[in-house]
Amino acid sequence: MRRAWLVVLLVFVVAFSSAAMASAETLIVAQGADPVTLDPHGQNDQPSARVRVQIYETLVNHGYDLDIVPGLAKSWEQIDEVTWEFKLQEGVRFHNGDLFTAADVKYSFDRIKELPSPAAFLIDEVSEVVVVDPYTVQIVLKQPFAPILAHLAHPSNAIVNRRSVEEAGDAYGTQVAVGTGPFEFVEWVAGSHVELKRNENYWGEKAKVETLIIRGIPENTVRAIELETGGVDIAYNIAPIDELRLTGTPGLILDKYETLSTSYIGFNVAKEPFNNPLVRQAINYALDVDAVVDYIYSGQAIPVTGPLPPLVWASKTDLPGYDFDPEKAKQLLAEAGYPNGFKTSIWTNDNPLRMQIAEMFQADLAEIGVDVEVLIVPWATYLEDTAAGKHDMFILGWVTVTADPDYGLWALFHSSQFGNAGNRSFYANPRVDELLELGRSEADPEKRAAIYAEAQALIVEDAPWAFLIATSEVNGLRDNIEGFVPHPAGHHKLSTVVKK
């Protein structure tokens, strides 16, 4: 009897011990959530985009230093103020064998507008797409719009194949996904992983690995452990606490990169006492942002002095900003008529990092006599109620996905964008409005840079936000992985990755 148990136990251990070592031709990547849909015109979420950029392509791309480089369009020119003409790559085939032509471009953009895709706002300024010949297409705008190329580079503006979309019907995006990219869709096991294989007929440089598996592992610690145990080759978004633990682990590389994301505290400038710029400036002086970077982000962030993350090309990083200076803060509060401070509240959702920031700033502000209540509000309510202006102060982030200053400023500071559109601080400055309008219509990059420099300086002076940080992210890689280049927007392309 006893021996029988021992045998059973042995068989169990031998049979189940994890021997599933992935081969050098299979790259396994883990991210923090499952994709929602592989239809690029479906949801506009990061986990989906991270899979889709392997399958689909856009007319133009953001290079790794965020300049605009050719994609499915090999060249382009601006014909007049509102017309852009694109020459397309010839001989490109979709994964189903169909030839890629200008008709696919028109179909894709029409589809984005008709659905509408949640990211349709990115091409709001496009009035129509005109097929000139099979390899020439014109994009006609409603009015001059300088950042159009940056918008076309967004993964949500990927080109799809009409026949596949129509044949698949409702199965498109979950069981069928056909693009022109370096990887082809194989299968999606719901809740587990997406499997892709190398596109052997890819028009550009072919992918280095044969099979690409992208898994969703929601628990940060477990994702890090999977990397540590070799269950995955690359793990995205290693949390600060796991970064500390994994640093120095043999066989692992921790790769930190700057992103296009910022976190900020917004003031409701429509409400007292935040309608007084002195109060807003005082709070900017009172916050110890370096401490947030050190203790909450463990270095996975950098302090910023203005509204744009430094990676955005027109970002003005030499603005004086607000140093940590509680004395100056007290002085400004007294000047504003609040020598003894006041009572207020700060809103955050249940994001643990944001909750910690709120608590730290609660302590900072107590030092200058401002009594802050921290309110933790569920995400859905949070968006709704801050849009309605029910808040005093709130913590939120913004990702300048197009890497263009227009995207990073327009929705947040233009007075036409109050509420849900993005301007949750209800900030309005006629000169800033004017500059932001000029900035999106001016074609010359140098003039645009000057326009945005002035706008940023004004915004910093008016201080509708407390300017906090631009975040970094850490990817973990096994040391046999080469050729991985992180993309600042977070959707890393994996065709160049080699597994030794």
């Binding site: 599933a20 719901a190 269950g231 929705a411």
Partner: protein
Amino acid sequence: MWRYILRRLLMLIPVLIGISIFVFLLMYFTPGDPALLMLGEGAPPEQYAALRESMGLDDPVYVQYFRWLGNAVRGDLGRSLRSKKLVTTEILDRLPATTQLAVAAVTFAVVVGVPVGILSASKPNSWFDNIAMVGALTGVGMPVFWQGIMLILIFSVHLHWFPSSGRMGGLEYLVLPTITLGTASTASIARLTRSAMLEVLQQDYIRTARSKGLPRRTVVFRHALRNALIPVVTMIGLQFGGLMSGAVLTESIFAWPGIGRMIVDAINNKDFPLVQGTIMTFALIYALVNLIIDVTYAFLDPRLRLVYE
């Protein structure tokens, strides 16, 4: 017997309708706007209005409910607001993983819990009994999250015996989630088996059996166990229902592609049709498991068969 089963099945209908109304209202009155969540920040107001209309969110709540109910009775639970997949497809995609995990966890709990309970009861207050019952208390009290991470640290990181997460292939992926999910049930079942056995072992007929000179093993297994098992079977049924719907934490820790993780995401995104459909599925499973348990009694205790006739 069959009439009894049929009657129980018919009683399911009002129960399910009641649950559906309750869940519908709950989702309706929870703050947060699904259209807003779908669009995220920075979307223009016209697009938001169009989306709300296309989702039917502007209709009164009873119109929305009856539209849902009308479709549901025809087997159409609608589409997920986010992925646009059929809710039935979403559920069927995820149900096998959850069922597999729940069955494995219950099996684990029974295979470990029942023998431990019997052994403890047959030698109460022995060292085995004391260790087992302290272990059971610990098992009930241990946070799932902590236990899961500890198992991963020991068996994946240090010993390399089992993979730490996912369901990427063979049964080796099932081991750690099963233990994590099954521990609390194992402990409850062990404790219940022990107390039920202790009670039965003091009955007169057991004394009779012993005094007849029957071997100890026969007395315990043939005479006592069968009677002690009735509350245990009830417990197993309840545990199974709970494990099906309560595997949320375990599924999250181990990135197990089950229904628990799906419903948490669905609730966070206010994906009404998906939440509604999933909870109805849970309710149905729970009710069916209870029915099966009730029928099982008849096999354990012939006296109960009369009640069902």
